[in-house]
Subunit: 425 residues, 2 copies
Amino acid sequence: MALIVAKFGGTSVASPERIKNVAKRLVGMRQRGDEVVAVVSAMGKTTDELMGLASAVTAAPPARELDRLLSTGEQVSMTLLAMAIEALGYKSISFTGRQAGIETNGTHNKARIVKVHNERILDALDDGAIPVVAGFQGIDANGDITTLGRGGSDTTAVAIAWGINADVCEIYSDVDGVYTTDPRIAPRAKKLDSICYDDMLELSSAGSGVLQSRAVEFARKWKVVIHSRSAFSEAEGTYVKEEYVMEEAVITGIASDTSEVKVTIRQVPDAPSVAARVFGALAAANVNLDMIIQNVSEAGYTDISFTTPGADLPRAVETMERIVPEIGAREYIVDEDIAKVSLVGTGMKSSPGVASRTFQTLGDNNINIMAISTSPIRLSMIVDAAQATQAVQCLHTAFGLDSDDVFVETQLSAEEIAAKMKKGR
Amino acid sequence: MALIVAKFGGTSVASPERIKNVAKRLVGMRQRGDEVVAVVSAMGKTTDELMGLASAVTAAPPARELDRLLSTGEQVSMTLLAMAIEALGYKSISFTGRQAGIETNGTHNKARIVKVHNERILDALDDGAIPVVAGFQGIDANGDITTLGRGGSDTTAVAIAWGINADVCEIYSDVDGVYTTDPRIAPRAKKLDSICYDDMLELSSAGSGVLQSRAVEFARKWKVVIHSRSAFSEAEGTYVKEEYVMEEAVITGIASDTSEVKVTIRQVPDAPSVAARVFGALAAANVNLDMIIQNVSEAGYTDISFTTPGADLPRAVETMERIVPEIGAREYIVDEDIAKVSLVGTGMKSSPGVASRTFQTLGDNNINIMAISTSPIRLSMIVDAAQATQAVQCLHTAFGLDSDDVFVETQLSAEEIAAKMKKGR
């Protein structure tokens, strides 16, 4: 008998019919003798719709009220799921974040969990019920509702799993696990049986959308085993856990991400304080920076480029409009048609040949690298968005990741993938 | 300076645009020097949509979960209204039923208010804020969310007005007050400047949709002055309060209601226990009865008719299917095409001629009365639905209620009105 936390995302609870399927799945776990706590996101696009209502009312919704508004989405899905479970003859109780004991700091809209009180959930389990917990939300020390920010429901699930000492935190979605790369891009991508926290964290941060990096971070810190699996099949997915294997693959997976944009400032006077002024102004405007590239100075001038999430572009442009004349640079250019391709693997640390094989492979395929950034277990490159698919495919083959099986879904063209990914921004 | 509770129904907050208008209205009150607490219903048809989701998941939603689900509707509108007020530069705080201190009994889906804790709302007012309270919901002694049932938001508003000792409870809707009858039916209907609690209660119970009878009952008991007025104009509406006038009009208003249906059981054996069995079975099936008509017995058989709200018809039919063979009656007939026309007025008590003038007037107009019921201040009759409009019009004239002004909206035909009213069922 295992104690399982099972998290279902918005797609899995998008309609009453799907909610009934989730209820059946939970009841099935109980029938197999497991104990289970469900964590749910809001139905389908509810959170976006609520955000839309708020924006229609005011350009600057007060954070406290916005959190109260957004938290209603999960309250709807949690009560419907509890009803569906009861309709199958099993006892169920729904819990808001507050009732589930998710205590956060007071940073509205992206609160951090500071404590998990497990009493009420454990009581409900003792009572024979299937507790259903609203993801994404908690309560701060003042008793005000907070939300955890995008992807917060995964984090709620991991936190609850830790709080009740569950055997595993199952995260159900519309994909059946973690792949060596996106199978829509590389049809020979392989599903991994397991992956270590470090690799998963790098893959998530590098754009693999299967698990939220914040949830992986929490799981890594508190040693919670995650099982990423499909809501629509019974097949085993991918376990995310600490791994000790004798011989590791050099590269675990390849992620690609088209949600970043590149900004280049042309002809910046090459004085020591200039870069500091540029990046200081960007930091003050809350613009997240990923990569920074500074060209070799020529005749006292240089070009500075940086990449930033597409969501931060408006703030970045605002900052540029102000800072570019101030520092006496010539102009700035925004390039949205870029992609970041990242190789991830803990085995990389002890394999010095990864970078050279990567550059060789991309060179052979006439793919130009615009920027590079590295960590001990990750190598990321910015390439032209139109070449991203080809880059992923040739690297996937070069590092021996190709499966014998070909992914069944029709392979998309580079343009279709780029379009698909841009939409997610 | 007055202390005002202002309640806005679902139509008044149906869109972000309308919510912004409500915010402007509230801010306007503050600018005139009044203090104000807002009470809101869920946006538009939200409550119906949430009910629909619950029914799609299960035929029998657990009452506790259903209340948690339904209560989210007002949580959305209250936060949006608080945001809209803040956008106008005024401080606002939203309160759920729990936070507003609405304590109820544990009867989920139609809880009764048992206590109003006013501290937090008064604190917010002291703090210079415009408190926005979610209508329709409260919390029971176990800390579970309850809802007050249909029309509960009016009751919340009256309860809050009583709890904070407000000068008036303004109830805003899409009509500009209480009329002597529905102006869509009788174009010469007059808006009343004021009406006493007893008359308003009878009018509400008899089908006048302006105010919920439960809210009027609460207001009468605790002497809360209600001001029923339009959300779309600044004109004064109708005050509902205790009235002491030297000479009252005999009839205050006429209501009509097509939401009831008539069931007739044919050829019932005329034994003493039979009626008791019929009405006992209906009571056990939770069928509300309004009027009961038993014809004179003939050759040992009689016909029994009763009227019941359309919503109770399925349960009534189920009971009939079982009881009609049991008691040895011949058959039962359902007539949905009936209307109840009610004359209301405290002046009626001291005017014995009301009944005779009524029957004379209807007789002159060839309108057949199928059943009659009375209270000291009300006379109700069941007539054919197709004759309801004519009945209201001729009685309105006969009792001197006609205004010199003609209501501007195009007069509807009897069929159109019947169709319009049936939809509301």
